[in-house]
């Protein structure tokens, strides 16, 4: 087991040391060995004395591993019974691009567990969120502490160059707020910003297809005036929400399948590829098609959404 963890490390170093075509080269960040979360007593002592490391994005690995991931993992294993296929590239930063759905971002939370538990180096998924997330008290705070940051090119490239695995949902609010009728039909993939970012950082793009999340809250309506009033992108109506109040916010226990597709390499592109709009749209379109095809295939192969 120990050997299996040692082998990828030199590769990771060479990958991060490679001189990038744009921007200054950055010294590689020190390797983070896969650590076991500390015991509860150690954890509490660290909390009381403020003695724990936080990175420049505000990511607090100790808090994430001790308090945030375990309950999510329980949901992952027992409620959605997530099956994961495919592999994630080791020894390099990677941009995981996935379909977005489900009214509330359960898909993002479950993908974070899938990446952490299936990545050969046990990396945390560093997701890019909308600025709405960071405007909200508590939510924005938890997002930063669990490793997320603002969806902007600067932050994403910085994380990728440091060798992190970054997650992005290019459909954005259009995807997460799509109606039940549109399930498993990818919405517009933004303006291909994720492809620009990956090209700039020279890291592979991992197309990720998530099946199951699109049925957890069948959104059949949208109370637009209420959404405007609350400053939200949509106010969903599902068969159970807002009819049953908070109970309606319990997601349906669908059976999930997360597939990490074949990584798309971007390090072979010419140096100024990130500014080539035609190439960027090609790469983005190719990734979108891969995800859509995988989704169609996986959905067709299901016998029931709950099994």
């Amino acid at each position: 087991m120990a050997e299996a963890q040692v082998i990828p490390l030199p590769r990771r170093e060479t990958a991060t040391r490679r001189v990038s075509p744009t921007g200054p080269s950055r010294p590689p960040t020190p390797l983070r060995p896969r650590r076991r979360p500390p015991g509860l007593r150690t954890f509490l002592r660290h909390r009381l004395t403020g003695d724990y490391p936080v990175d420049e994005f505000g990511f607090d690995p100790e808090l994430t591993d001790t308090l945030l991931l375990p309950p999510l993992r329980a949901v992952y294993e027992n409620w959605f019974r997530v099956t994961v296929t495919g592999t994630l590239p080791a020894g390099t930063g990677a941009l995981v691009v996935a379909n977005h759905s489900g009214t509330l971002p359960w898909d993002a939370l479950m993908t974070a567990i899938a990446v952490h538990d299936h990545h050969p180096e046990g990396r945390h998924l560093r997701m890019l969120g909308a600025d709405l997330v960071f405007r909200l008290p508590v939510v924005g705070n938890l997002a930063r502490k669990s490793g997320q940051t603002l969806a902007c090119g600067a932050d994403a490239v910085r994380l990728l160059r440091a060798g992190e695995t970054v997650g992005v949902w290019p459909e954005g609010f259009k995807g997460i707020g799509k109606s039940f009728h549109d399930r498993y039909r990818l919405q517009r993939f933004g303006r291909g910003g994720f492809a620009t970012t990956a090209l700039r950082a020279g890291v592979p793009i991992v197309p990720c297809s998530i099946v199951g999340a699109e049925e957890i809250y069948p959104k059949i309506g949208d109370l637009k005036p209420l959404a405007t009033l609350l400053g939200l992108p949509y106010f969903p109506v599902t068969p159970l929400f807002p009819l049953l109040g908070p109970l309606g916010a319990i997601p349906l226990p669908t059976k999930w399948h997360i597939h990490f597709g074949e990584p798309v390499r971007t390090d072979l592109a010419p140096p100024d590829a990130a500014d080539d709009q035609a190439l960027v749209m090609d790469v983005a379109g190719g990734v979108r098609d891969t995800i859509q095809e995988t989704l169609d295939h996986l959905v067709a192969g299901r016998t029931s959404i709950f099994r």
Partner: protein, 302 residues
Amino acid sequence: MAPEVVLVTGVAGQLGGRLAATLTAEPGITRIIGVDTRRPRAALPDRVELVTGGTDLHDLLRTEDVDTVVHAAPRPAGHGDRDRDLVATMRLLAACQRAENVRKLVFRSTAEVYGASPTSPAVFTETDRSARGRAVELEGYVDGLARRRPDLTVTTVRLAELLGAGVHTAFANYLRLPVVPTALGFDARVQVLHPADAVAVLRRATTHDLPGVFNAGGDGVLLLSQAIRRAGRVALPVPRAAVPAAARLARAELSPGLSRLLSYGRVIDTTRLKTAFGYTPGWSTAAAFDDYLHERTGITSG
């Protein structure tokens, strides 16, 4: 070009005073002229020629044949009169523009030029700059001077919040409160710079020709909640808009810029400082914070 006659503004302040004192150890510098509107509380070395009160800066620059001007006076927001600082800077820059013997300007700016907001990137590089604010206005004047005097070597250093033993900034005073009001539901990332590093950066900018803009901050980040825990203080979360009022009740003034920093946090990238500028801060954020704490506990126990 090695400086010979250096004029340092803000010598009554902590940074300007310490810079003037360290420059006396530089062999190539023949004269150091310290300028401020008030007399420094701590005595300066004899070699520093002190000029206080209303002097004609242009005359001073010309008659004393000053070749290097270090504007260390602008203080982080939350200190004193906003307009006085702006007008003083404008006067100094105008004098520099007309005095042709001035070859170099070192300008002390602050990371406040980046602002702090939920839509900001997590880490700022030198190419970013916010649209408004006093610090941005000041840098705008410096840009204007650099355009009109292309032969002038202009170095702008954007300093993170200063913290360490003996620092009395609004931020340091805020952390001294027995109960620290914080923004409910927010936890800012805070990066600080030890004054010793700030002085070293300004000194290097004075003695070397390093044109450009450079961020200066300690390595690493502390969360505000973490800092308060380390200080053994109690955080009192109040709604975000009420933080300045709550701090005022406890007699700590928070400028709008500082209270945004304390909600949304700010981190600056110091890669260029380490590579192009050639200085690596000796104090990390955590070490500078501990230095500040030790001094404080020393005072309360003795």
